[in-house]
């Protein structure tokens, strides 16, 4: 073979590799779920990067944070800037890495961690790993997060190339996969997922006694790590249990958290006992799925109360009146009420909600 021919072969091969990479990228983009018509919570983690920066408070945890706390309301009433990094059934190691990842963009003054996930010492489902981790931007933090979270059947490579995970969606492709190939829709309001419909609590299943109430060692380790990371960065860590009735929060669990908080000088508040009396939650009107999650009205009540709690227990400034922030938040407020109106309209028209955007 002469030199010219070799160069030609190499050039052709390189071109082919390039086209192949492009084709695979296209397929990956096409086949990865868009989370628009279905499983919308898959959008949450990625959306954070749109509102990263300038948040004094960071909420981390599962649906008990993203369904129950409204940053808009905290801003309106207390001038508190806040962001939520929640995802469906977020486990404590997810939350920890969520915090580490956030620190790459901003250092909040207060971190609020919802303690429900202390009950899970093991990964519950591969799907929730994807919902928590796929949206995270790549960094050494994500690498560690993936390694810490993977179930046995998963591979690191499938996080680097989600095509490997989602390739079999070819039989499940829908029009949204083309429509949202390049763009997406904004679901949350600084991480808050809005639902305005009502499904009252009609019955609370009896909580079966457990054989063992102690939390898993892994959970305690991550809680320690979270506490240490906050300390190192001068962040005040606040623990909270949101006032949703299911899954049941056992007194035995609560005692362990109370002890941990007092041992470590942390604020902890369990809102369940004071939900009706102090916060004013009405379980016949303030939940959209019979007590698992609060709806908009419930979230606003809780946020009003929690804003006051934060004012009393932390040293958060009131940013109201700061021109640039007022401008930024007024846009968020507009979007917030637009979505509430759209949902109300759909509810009126169809009698039920079929999506968060009300369309």
């Amino acid at each position: 073979m002469n030199k010219k021919k070799v160069v030609k072969i190499i050039a052709a091969a390189l071109c082919a590799v390039l086209v192949l990479v492009l084709a695979l990228w296209f397929l990956q983009r096409l086949l990865t779920p868009k989370y628009i018509d279905k499983n919308e919570e898959g959008l949450l983690v990625k959306e954070y990067y749109d509102y990263a920066g300038g948040n004094d408070v960071l909420f981390i945890g599962d649906c008990e944070v993203y369904s129950n706390f409204s940053p808009v309301r905290l801003w309106q009433e207390y001038g508190i800037t806040s962001a939520i990094r929640g995802s469906p059934q977020q486990l404590i190691w997810h939350s920890y890495y969520m915090l580490e990842d956030t620190l790459r963009y901003e250092t909040p003054k207060v971190v609020v961690f919802n303690v429900l996930s202390m009950k899970y010492g093991e990964p519950q489902s591969e799907a929730y790993n994807r919902l928590a981790l796929d949206g995270m931007k790549w960094s050494s933090v994500k690498l560690r997060a993936v390694k810490a979270s993977m179930t046995e059947e998963e591979s690191l490579l499938s996080y680097v190339f989600p095509l490997l995970r989602f390739h079999s969606r070819w039989s499940d492709l829908r029009s949204e996969d083309l429509k949202y190939f390049f763009n997406t829709r904004q679901l949350s309001h600084n991480g808050y997922v809005m639902r305005i419909d009502v499904q009252p609590v009609d019955y609370i299943p009896r909580a079966e006694p457990l054989a063992d109430y102690s939390f898993a060692d892994t959970c305690w380790e991550y809680l320690d790590k979270m506490k240490d990371l906050c300390e190192k960065n001068g962040i005040q860590l606040v623990l909270i249990k949101a006032p949703t009735l299911m899954p049941h929060w056992y007194d035995e669990w609560d005692e362990q958290i109370v002890k941990y908080a007092s041992d470590n000088g942390l604020c902890y508040v369990n809102t369940l006992p004071i939900a009706e009396s102090e916060i004013g939650i009405d379980y016949t009107a303030d939940t959209f799925d019979a007590g698992q999650h609060l709806n908009l009205s419930g979230a606003e009540k809780l946020s009003s109360w929690f804003g006051a709690y934060l004012k009393a227990n932390t040293a958060l400034p009131n940013h109201r009146g700061e021109a640039d922030l007022e401008l930024k938040w007024s846009e968020k407020i507009d979007r917030y009420y637009e979505m509430a109106d759209a949902q109300a309209a759909q509810l009126e028209r169809d009698g039920k909600l079929s999506g968060y955007w009300g369309d």
Binding site: A12, L24, N39, S171
Partner: protein, 525 residues
């Protein structure tokens, strides 16, 4: 390390790069290092068994070789002084000693294989007959042991027979036994053939490399897109025999035939393709077996290297052994010409098929599978005069249409015998096949019941398209290698096809965790 894994692809990429970068005289050492590395993934204990085979076979070969050399030079020196009988006697004396070495080597290796593979089967038989309760040993079968032991035994027998001189270099011999592409499922290579290209040196040959790569891609397609998808239905159907009777048994025969073909030939395509990319020629193991007109032909075209191994090292030596000739003589005298003539051949055939069955696995289903194959072969041998008369009398029997009928018949016959593999229960298999005649559920073909087997209609569509692709390629091969014609196309066409093939495999391959959007649902509206 399985072929279908990203680890293997990375392994290949690293090997190819180094193989063509190092000085050519080191290429085979690179191969040896990578082969050992490959095998290490199966656990270091497996490596011990392979080491035993390599060491015993190498030294046995070397000793036999030296004895033969000494014999030849002695005869040469003494040449004139020895008469024919003296030479004969001397040769016989040496042969006795080489035979001893050969036997030792065979006993150690086949004994090792027997102990690991068959002890538990033996125990189960003993327990069954004597109602004892001996505990099972549950050895873990080292990766590829049946293949590399057979390959090594072929080598030592050839050396004993003086077919070729033994390999002198220990490391080179180790590579012959451990050459990684053929470790998982063969082919069972012959030393005189493989050694011609195994040790190089090899210049990078673009044509050869590209053709090898195409074959690897084709192998992945067959394995990942067709076999690994269809295997779900095979497992479902064979897992619940009480539920899946009648038409489902017919479906299982068909599905398993396709799955096994795609998986096995796909794996061999990867093996031979990888070797070709390295400039090494590995023996073909399949010649489009489903085009066979009869069972004998099928076994010449399916798992070829195993068939020829049994033929060369068991069937022929057995049937021409002095003992067998004696039996033949005796039976001719006592049973008459017609029967007597058949005795040695059929006896050897039965023994070979029994061994073939046993080689496939230590279980009754494999033995019965082997003997059923044997039965079909013997019956068709007996009927062959009848067939010949039939073919002479009826001219349609030479038409293409009749040939297709013969292929169809052979395909299903072999298919039904093959389902013994998946039911793994001899009476159960016969019961299941019986239900085809007693269970009238052919309507299930059309009422959607087949979509409950773990595969959706989309999956069946993919399998169907894959089968169409395999059939097309097989038919095209009538006119020579498809890849030759492909390589004659302009590079743009070739690369476009290659890219499309890789994308097809990536998307339609059945690997990883299947997507079920239901698992992702958290809150429902």
């Amino acid at each position: 390390m399985p072929f279908v894994s990203f680890g293997f692809i990375a392994f290949l990429a690293a090997l190819m790069l180094l193989y063509y970068l190092v000085p050519k005289r080191f290429q085979w050492m690179m191969l040896l290092a990578f082969s050992i590395f490959f095998y290490c993934f199966a656990g270091w204990t497996s490596l011990i068994f392979m080491a035993v085979t390599i060491l015993t076979t190498y030294f046995a070969g070397a000793v036999i070789g030296r004895m033969a050399e000494a014999r030849d030079s002695y005869i040469k020196e003494q040449g004139a002084a020895m008469d024919r009988d003296a030479k004969k006697a001397y040769k016989a004396k040496v042969k006795k000693r080489t035979y001893l070495i050969l036997s030792l080597c065979l006993i150690v290796n086949l004994g090792m294989l027997a102990v690991i593979k068959y002890t538990d089967f033996g125990i189960s038989i003993v327990n069954g007959i004597f109602r004892t309760n001996i505990g099972y040993l549950r050895f873990i079968l080292p990766l590829g042991i049946s293949f590399y032991i057979f390959q090594s035994m072929g080598y030592i027998i050839d050396v004993y027979r003086g077919k070729y001189a033994p390999e002198k270099n220990f490391a080179r011999f180790a590579l012959f036994v451990s050459f990684f592409p053929q470790l998982l499922q063969g082919p069972i290579s012959r030393f005189d053939e493989l050694s011609q290209t195994l040790y190089g040196p090899h210049d990078f040959d673009y044509q050869n490399f590209a053709k090898g790569a195409w074959r690897v891609v084709w192998g992945f397609f067959k394995k990942v897109v067709i076999a690994d998808r269809l295997v779900t239905a095979v497992i479902t159907l064979s897992g619940e025999p009480d539920v899946y009777k009648g038409v489902y048994v017919v479906a299982l025969v068909l599905f398993y035939a396709i799955q096994l073909y795609a998986d096995f030939t796909g794996g061999i395509d990867i093996t031979i393709g990888v070797a070709q990319m390295l400039g090494i020629k590995v023996a073909e193991n399949f010649d489009r077996p489903f085009f066979s007109l009869n069972v004998t032909e099928y076994w010449r075209r399916w798992h070829i290297t195993m068939g020829t191994w049994f033929k060369d090292y068991i069937f022929y030596p057995l049937s021409v052994s002095p003992k067998m000739l004696k039996i033949s003589k005796w039976s001719r005298e006592k049973l008459g010409q017609a029967i007597g003539k058949r005795v040695p051949v059929y006896l050897s055939t039965i023994i070979v098929w029994f061994a073939t069955g046993l080689w496939h696995g230590a279980a009754w289903n494999f033995i019965v599978w082997g003997l059923l194959n044997c039965l079909v072969i013997i019956v068709s041998q007996e009927l062959s005069p009848l067939y010949q008369r039939f073919h002479k009398k009826f001219r349609f029997s030479n038409t293409k249409g009749y040939n297709v009928f013969q292929m169809f018949r052979t395909f299903w016959l072999m298919g039904f015998i093959r389902v013994l593999d998946v039911y793994r229960d001899v009476p159960g298999t016969f019961r299941q096949v019986g239900t085809i005649f007693t269970t009238a559920n052919w309507g299930d073909l059309f009422n959607g019941s087949f979509l409950e087997l773990g595969l959706g209609w989309q999956d069946f569509a993919v399998v169907l398209a894959g089968c169409a692709a395999m059939l097309t390629v097989s038919i095209l091969q009538n006119k020579g290698q498809v890849r030759d014609r492909l390589m004659a196309r302009p590079p743009v066409v070739r690369y476009a096809l290659l890219i499309a093939a890789v994308c097809l495999i990536m998307v339609f391959g059945a690997y990883g965790i299947g997507y079920d959007s239901g698992a992702f649902i958290y809150t429902r509206f």
